[in-house]
């Protein structure tokens, strides 16, 4: 996949900031790598919200995976290696909080970060619809990797049909949150940047 140069990204970003976001021809949804502590804070917030309210915010047995969203966001703004490392850290934290998943989340989320990073700086990362669909696919890939990792630890998932149903709902919920973030988060961010 063709990768854009730093100059390309800087030019697109300047164009985006110079125009109102809604009028921009090139929205540049993933303009550059985030500061590490922004990513760390986002991950901590995602973990705390999920560990404290996963049952409250569950819909049809599935909960929004903010961790997946944060990993996807970081991966697509950095690259494969950074995405992998960030995903491994996020997954290790999830395994620690989940208790009985062994190392399944570590490897599933690491893979998700790797996959997200593979699309960094590609044309796909500037198309909103592709990003939203990508989040849904990434959620399913991560869930599938989780199930495989569990099987490899001799801990098969009980009631697989129920979990497949939950996985599909989780993918849809994650895509919805990604859509809302891209629609409104970037709009707000763009306006703030425009004012400055």
């Amino acid at each position: 996949m063709p990768v854009r140069s730093d100059e390309d990204i800087a030019r697109t970003r300047a164009f985006w900031v110079a125009n109102r976001p809604s009028e921009s021809a090139a929205p540049a949804y993933v303009p550059g790598a985030p500061v590490w502590w922004h990513a760390a804070l986002a991950l901590i917030a995602a973990l705390v919200v999920q560990a404290s309210f996963s049952q409250t915010i569950a819909f049809r047995g599935a909960t929004v995976s903010f961790v997946t969203l944060v990993v996807a966001w970081y991966g697509i703004r950095t690259g494969t290696l950074s995405g992998l490392v960030f995903g491994l850290i996020a997954g290790a934290c999830e395994d620690a909080l989940a208790g009985s998943s062994g190392v399944a989340w570590t490897f599933a989320t690491g893979l998700a970060g790797l996959v997200a990073g593979a699309f960094a700086r590609s044309w796909l990362s500037d198309i909103k619809a592709a990003l939203i669909a990508g989040v849904a696919v990434l959620s399913l890939v991560r869930y599938a990797a989780f199930v495989v990792a569990l099987q490899m630890q001799n801990r098969p998932l009980a009631m697989p049909e129920t979990h497949l149903h939950a996985a599909l709902w989780q993918a849809a919920l994650n895509a919805l949150v990604a859509f809302l973030a891209l629609q409104f988060g970037l709009e707000i961010g763009g306006r703030l940047a425009h004012r400055r």
Partner: protein, 284 residues
Amino acid sequence: MVPIFTYRDERKLFAVIGAVIVAALIALVQLDAAKSGKPSIIADAVTSTAFVLQSTVAAVGGAVHGVGAGIAAAPHLAAQNAELREKNRALRSENARLREALALAPEATEIARTTAALPGGIDASTIGYDPENIDREITLDRGSRAGIAADDGVVNEDGVVGRIVTVTPLESTVLLVTDGASKVPAVVQRGRWWGIATGTNGRIRIEYISQDAKLRIGDAVVTGAGRSFRAGLPLGTISRIDHPDGALYQSALLEPAVAFGRISRVIVVPRTSIDDVAPAPRGD
């Protein structure tokens, strides 16, 4: 002359090598812990940090719930204390707080009674859930420092909640009896018919009951003596019976005795104390 290796390239190389080393370290630490069956250093560090954050969030959540309950009760209070509320707004919030404390008193009394019936029981509070909601699990604010160990049974005033699956110094994780991976020996109280209670990710199903058992809707099901629980603790009541022709066994769906949607306080029963005590009397 063009330099073939710049300082910038060197930094990038170090960053890549560092990232690879970190990734490999995380993978190795996690795999090593998985092989030994004990929580990894990462798990200990994360749960210790999470303990503080989750306890804070749980406390804030409790406070918000208390205020909400107070606000919900406000119309009733207004009817009774309209004049008083008019005079002093501060008294209203104080009144709401006291009402919440009063509402919590029966639960505290029940927990205290159950604790008294279970010598050695460790009182604990729920502070979290499975982050991905895949397993039916809850996180407790007590860990190995409080004497909790893996496979300890967990109950509350209504009945069986689950068993401990993971323990770190400050926290422990409970696999609820409603989880698909949970298996508990169970007995239909009326006829002493044995079976295995397993979760359906919401309710409980008792399986492998003999075909000649005359089950009825509403029959109480309790635990049989097992690894984590002593006999006689309530699991639920039968709400549906599946008695297929030609099958070796019959099964039944249970309405759980515990309201799993609102578990706040539980008692962990150490395995060492199971054999020493008589069955706990029910609160009612």
